[in-house]
């Protein structure tokens, strides 16, 4: 009886610890477009983009880069500036019924300073120019390939690494 109980407790301990470990390996994309790269370097091609709130699994770390795996077989290296720990979540179940896990976990998203707070600020500060800011964000967005050819055309030779 006693042995049985100890074995059961040991089993429980291992189970709980491994659950916690798994949770510790779960990360969430905290930027609008988390870039997945083939290799852990800013020079490596972008092989995919993961949206804000996507849950990923930490497979391996190298410097400031984490090899992550997302649901539908998406793999790649993501810079840690794009990731946060799982604990950004409010309580599970805080999201609307039937919402995806990542949605629940990002329950904090949109709270605090958000577009409603910005609209209030804008209304009270007429001398601001948010149209210019919107234009800034939308007008010029360059992809990795364009950056590569820009560097090549200007004979700028990057050093491997970066983003330490």
């Amino acid at each position: 009886m006693r042995k049985c109980a100890i074995a059961a407790l040991a089993g429980l301990t291992v189970l709980l610890a491994s659950l916690a470990w798994a949770a510790a390996q779960a990360l969430i994309v905290q930027v609008r477009e988390g870039q997945l790269r083939r290799d852990p370097s800013f020079l490596s091609p972008v092989v995919g983009v993961l949206a804000f709130g996507t849950k990923v699994h930490n497979e391996e770390e190298r410097g400031s880069w984490i090899r992550v795996k997302a649901g539908e077989g998406q793999n790649g290296w993501m810079h840690l500036s794009a990731l946060t720990e799982k604990e950004i979540a409010l309580k599970p179940g805080a999201g609307p019924a039937g919402s995806s896990a990542s949605r629940e976990e990002m329950a904090l998203a949109g709270k605090g300073f958000n577009k409603d707070v910005e609209a209030d600020f804008k209304a009270k500060n007429k001398q601001t120019d948010f149209a210019a800011v919107d234009h800034m964000e939308k007008a010029y967005n360059y992809q990795a390939a364009e950056m590569e050819s820009f560097l090549k055309q200007g004979d700028v030779q990057p050093k491997e690494g970066g983003g330490q």
């Binding site: 916690a20 510790a24 009270k124 601001t128």
Partner: protein
């Protein structure tokens, strides 16, 4: 037996908590408010987390702060309507930013030219970067423009703008979020708007009136030299622009002299880590495209 059970459960709890604490992924020290709220559900933890303002805001909060700061600055300095120049500046700037220690912000890095002769630049939280025509005219080639942009990227990487927010405002935000707790309701705009406006005021006052500290400017200079080196530009370019600015530095002047340390001191600090070297000769294609994009600015 019961004691053994209790001991085992405590042991399990310790292991669980220990394992959960093994990993600490925090890109630039953005500890997050959500974590404090969820785990601790205690004012003590929120208070502790609020020790450094920059650590308590998520990249999404930072994004909205940065937009409002940039909108305030662009209300004073009109953006320059020159698509070719702005396109060049963004391609160069975004290429530099991805080699920084913070390649990803909530909505990325974006650059614009302010239509003013004043010599100044602003790196707003989240990556909205504004450069004056006057400062672009201090740059003699692409490497030097890259140096100026990389310095502002440095301020974003180090979250210097957020650091100037008074901590009491962050506590106000923490309080609102804490009250909302796990409820699915949206943000309490009325309660947050004061803290938001106050935060924008703190940052714009620092950036446009008082300036960052000497230490913060030094950090941004070093970050700039590092980025330039990684991308393949001349790290000395930052000293070259500073030398040009030193000629125009009038203590007590209205522009960068008001908000920045003496350029000569910044050069001396940089040269401790990046010893002086002969200026690299820029290839003709690089010089030509810089001339074409910014020659008329």
């Amino acid at each position: 037996m019961r004691r053994a059970l209790v001991t085992a459960l405590i042991l399990a709890a310790v292991l669980v908590l220990g394992a959960a604490g093994v990993r600490e992924v925090s890109a630039i020290g953005f500890g997050d408010l959500g974590r404090a709220l969820e785990i601790g559900k205690s004012v003590v933890k929120v208070g502790k987390a609020a020790g450094k303002a920059a650590e308590d805001l998520t990249p999404e909060h930072e994004y909205y702060i940065g937009r409002a700061v940039a909108a305030t600055i662009l209300g004073k300095y009109k953006p320059l309507d020159n698509p070719a120049a702005n396109a060049y500046l963004n391609l160069l700037g975004q290429t530099l930013a991805r080699a920084s220690d913070r390649p990803q912000t909530f909505a990325g890095y974006h650059f614009a030219i302010m239509d003013t002769e004043e010599i100044n630049a602003f790196g707003c939280p989240g990556g909205l970067i504004l450069i004056s025509r006057g400062l672009l005219r201090c740059c003699a080639n692409e490497d030097q423009v890259a140096a100026v942009l990389a310095h502002e990227i440095g301020h974003v990487v180090k979250a210097h703008g957020l650091a100037s927010i008074q901590q009491s405002r962050i506590l106000d935000v923490a309080g609102v979020l804490f009250q909302e707790g796990a409820s699915h309701a949206g943000g309490n705009v009325a309660a947050l708007s004061g803290a938001f406006a106050g935060s924008i005021g703190d940052i714009t006052k620092t950036m446009m009136v008082n300036g960052y500290s000497r230490g913060q400017e030094g950090e941004a200079d070093l970050e700039a030299a590092t980025i330039l080196g990684r991308v393949g530009y001349d790290p000395q370019a930052i000293c070259q622009v500073l030398a040009t600015m030193a000629h125009r530095y009038k203590p007590g002047g209205a522009d960068f002299a008001k908000t920045h340390p003496n350029p000569a001191d910044r050069i001396a600090a940089l040269q401790e880590k990046f010893p002086p070297a002969p200026a690299a000769q820029a290839p003709p294609e690089r010089l030509a495209r810089w001339q074409q994009a910014l020659g008329q600015v």
